[in-house]
């Protein structure tokens, strides 16, 4: 197991390096740079001032020199500071990452709570009304973009019923109750849609497993249907679900940016987006590196869970 873990960790290094390099090249290929957004109104801008600022930030150096400088600093644990605000990037990521992580975990919890029972029930009563009800849920969920659902939820719960605030954030440790009130709608917007996708996979793998020989054997032994479904079938049907949920977990860590924007949450996605819009290169580099590292880590975690469920993986 340790060898397995070690090998997987070593494999992550070239992935992260590749991500950093590609981000660096892509960001520098986008026209425009940070100095235009720094100067603000045109009445204070001249070409000389732009050139002077570029020199101050080292943006006039060749791109490979800039990458080398950045990489050198990162290897020493320094992500640098924002070109616009002068704030430490590591510090800002430490503030924002937990927000995205909490949003991701809450969405996944909502998704799994809904998807597992709905999927299993739909498979169990295939072709009967619970199955049709489940399919309707899947269809609506897959067709609805999450930001649209978010707006509908705001209209209903904030504007009409007045139960929940429409947007904004309060740190979890500062006021857990208020934090939950403000995280519930964003988590629902992501979770409900994720639930639809997961339900579909749960139902189809469950159907496949329910048709297997050992399930027939279990039934032939005279076991109760409930036991057959939950003990024998569900456990095996969960393996593909773990894969999909793991992937979704990873992509949510960097992909909740629209929901963060709609609900004004200070997550890592919005941090990166702001950096991209204003060409704040070190911010984008730092944020993407952390998102990529999180993705790699979650994948590693999924592999470990696999290895635990299925010993064959360990020796592959």
């Amino acid at each position: 197991m340790l060898i397995f873990l070690g090998r997987r960790t070593l494999l992550a290094i070239p992935s992260l390096f590749g991500v950093a390099l590609v981000t660096f090249i892509l960001m520098r290929s986008v026209p425009g740079d940070v100095v235009t957004s720094l100067l603000g109104d045109v009445q204070d801008v001249t070409p000389e001032r732009l050139a002077e600022l570029r020199r101050m930030f080292g943006l006039d150096l060749p791109i490979h020199v800039q990458f080398g400088q950045w990489l050198g600093a990162v290897l020493q644990g320094d992500l640098g500071s924002s070109l616009r605000t002068g704030r430490s990037i590591a510090g800002d990521i430490a503030l924002r990452f937990p927000v995205t992580l909490q949003l991701t975990l809450m969405s996944l919890a909502i998704a799994l709570t809904l998807a597992l029972p709905i999927g299993v029930t739909a498979a169990r009563y295939r072709g009967r009304w619970p199955d049709y009800l489940g399919s309707a849920f899947v269809l609506v969920g897959l067709a609805l973009p999450n930001f649209f659902l978010a707006i509908l939820l705001i209209l209903l719960f904030s504007l009409h019923l007045g139960w929940l605030p429409p947007a904004g954030y309060v740190p979890l440790l500062e006021n857990p109750g208020e934090n939950m009130r403000r995280m519930l709608l964003p988590a629902l917007s992501l979770g409900l849609i994720l639930a639809a996708a997961t339900t579909r996979i749960m139902r189809s793998t469950m159907l496949e497993v329910l048709g297997r020989d050992y399930v027939r054997t279990a039934r032939a032994k005279g076991l109760e249907e409930r036991v057959v479904t939950l003990r024998h079938a569900l456990r095996n049907a969960l393996i593909p679900v773990v894969t999909v949920v793991g992937l979704q977990f990873g992509s949510l860590l960097g992909g909740t940016v629209i929901i963060e924007q709609v609900f004004s949450l200070p997550g890592i996605g919005r941090f990166a987006l702001e950096g991209i819009n204003l060409r704040d290169y070190p911010v984008v580099q730092g944020a993407v590196l952390v998102i990529a590292a999180a993705f790699v880590f979650v994948n590693l975690l999924v592999d470990v869970i696999y290895a635990l469920i299925d010993p064959r993986v360990r020796y592959a």
């Binding site: 425009g32 045109v42 732009l50 002068g86 924002r96 504007l159 605030p165 904004g168 004004s264």
Partner: protein
């Protein structure tokens, strides 16, 4: 029914006449985070608007943009206008130290210092020295008479900062110690910025009550305009900035929300590169001015509420220095065609129309202008780019015709000298006229407002005649608040100094 009306009226009157109440925290919904917290290093409106009530300027603008005392109680200029002496009031920094003349000298020299790289280092280019005569007297020596000095001193990012705090911390990005009515408490990026009342603030209201009325202000950030308007509609915040033009009417119809605002100091115009034919011919530029339907631009591109049609030049209507009418106030396609024919372009022509996609109020007018010009046989080929690409081309003068503008001006010199003087670094269209130069130079050296006004009116009439820009509109800016928010005043330079007198009714 009658009784209800009477009671309501009495209540309304009661509110209007009510004495300001002390206490309460104002919850403000902002569009974006501050861009850095060091006021001298930033040029961002967001930074200014959240910090201008923690710091003070030497002199200030009031809501009519007249100059009023700030940290300086009084001031006088020598007869040759080269020496300006300011007398400071007694004031304290938020850490308890006294505000001194030395802090003033240090702050102005810090903005000027090339090593500090302030985006406004040019504001004080004519200032040669700033000397502290004693603890409360400071003298500015200028290299030439320069009347706009007071406006630059009132710019609320050109604040006076404590020398001892800057020297201890290097810069002010991570520490905020000012002398204004509110103390800085904390800033959590994309979450909130918190201010609380400073009990030793120097300001008092008309009745001698110590300002401010509020216990504090909490700014939260809603980059999404719908999130911002929903937050005010549900009462999640008490006040929001930048009500989108499209929401002004619907939000105003909500009995729980009041929309405040109007004209802001800025201009938006079609700008010609006056060195490139055929736009080096003023008749072609005049033809454009006659052909473009400014009212349609405001009605269609700005939903009727986002701006006011320009009836003068860069200086908005209502300003003391504004001219209130132009030859181009009504659209005249015939005249435009005649002018083109005179210039030898009766068959029309095609040109590259450079537009930025980043700001809707600069982007959306383009198609209306394009169709207006088609009526006089001119084909505008729209080329659209992101602001970060557009801006460097714009300031390098690398364009033929574009739509742009700038904002935040308070002095006529900033409105007129900056874009139109032939020597100005920000005259990106390279417009050059000896008479205009002469008048604008005289204007920045003239202390008497009435004489100054005559100079600027003549300059603007000449500018309109030569038409280096087609002046389209002035953007309006609206804020909205819950009815319990009282005493807030809209400043046309979009400053939020109005929070100094804001109070909350129970």
């Amino acid at each position: 029914m009658k009784r209800t009306i009477f009671v309501t009226l009495a209540l309304l009157l009661g509110l209007a006449l009510a004495q300001p109440q002390f206490g309460g925290t104002l919850r403000v919904g902002m569009q974006t985070d501050p861009v850095g917290l060091d006021p001298h290093l930033s040029n961002a409106t967001a930074t200014r608007n959240m910090l201008e009530n923690t710091y003070d300027t030497l002199v200030m603008h009031d809501e009519t943009l007249a100059i009023v005392p700030g940290l300086a109680e009084s001031w006088e200029a020598s007869d040759d206008l080269l020496q300006w002496t300011f007398h400071l009031r007694e004031a304290r920094w938020h850490d308890g130290e006294a505000v001194t003349a030395d802090d003033v000298a240090f702050s102005i020299m810090r903005i000027k210092d090339p090593e500090v790289a302030s985006p406004r280092s040019g504001n004080f280019a004519v200032v040669e020295t700033v000397e502290a005569i004693d603890d409360r007297t400071v003298v500015f020596t200028l290299s030439q008479p320069f009347t706009p000095l007071l406006s630059f001193l009132a710019q609320s990012l050109n604040v006076i900062v404590p020398r001892h705090v800057v020297e201890a911390n290097g810069d002010l990005q991570n520490v905020t110690i000012g002398s204004g009515p509110f103390r800085f408490v904390e800033y959590l990026p994309q979450t909130r910025l918190v201010l609380e009342r400073f009990d030793d603030y120097w300001g008092v209201d008309a009745d001698g009550n110590q300002l401010p009325y509020l216990d504090g202000i909490t700014f939260t950030f809603y980059p999404d305009p719908t999130a911002r308007t929903t937050a005010i509609a549900t009462g999640d915040v008490d006040w929001i900035e930048y009500v989108p033009a499209v929401d002004v009417l619907s939000l105003d119809a909500d009995p729980n929300v009041e929309v405040v605002g109007g004209l802001a100091a800025n201009f938006r115009s079609v700008q010609f590169n006056t060195t490139i034919p055929p736009f080096d011919d003023h008749r072609v530029r005049q033809a454009f001015a006659y052909a473009i339907d400014k009212q349609a631009v405001v009605d269609l591109a700005l939903f009727g509420t986002g701006g006011v049609v320009a009836r003068g030049t860069t200086v908005p209507a209502g300003n003391f220095y504004a001219v209130e009418s132009t030859p181009y106030d009504t659209r005249d396609v015939e005249k435009a065609r005649a002018l083109l024919a005179e210039a030898g372009l009766a068959d029309g022509f095609e040109f590259d129309f450079y537009i930025t996609s980043t700001y809707d109020f600069l982007r959306d007018p383009a198609e209306i202008i394009q169709s207006n010009l088609a009526d006089i046989g001119v084909t505008a080929t729209i080329r659209m780019e992101d602001w970060s690409i557009f801006l460097p081309n714009y300031i390098a003068g690398d364009f033929v015709v574009l739509v742009s503008g700038s904002s935040g001006q308070t002095d006529p010199d900033a409105f007129l000298y900056t874009p139109f003087h032939s020597e100005s670094a920000n005259n990106f269209g390279k417009f050059s006229d000896a008479r205009v130069d002469e008048l604008l130079e005289a204007g920045r050296q003239e202390p008497d407002p009435e004489v100054r006004r005559e100079l600027y009116v003549e300059a603007q009439e000449r500018i309109l005649e030569l038409s280096p820009h087609v002046f389209l509109f002035h953007s309006a800016q609206y804020s909205a608040h819950r009815p319990r928010v009282q005493g807030y005043v809209h400043f046309p330079n979009t400053s939020y100094l109005g929070f100094r007198t804001t109070w909350l009714a129970n």
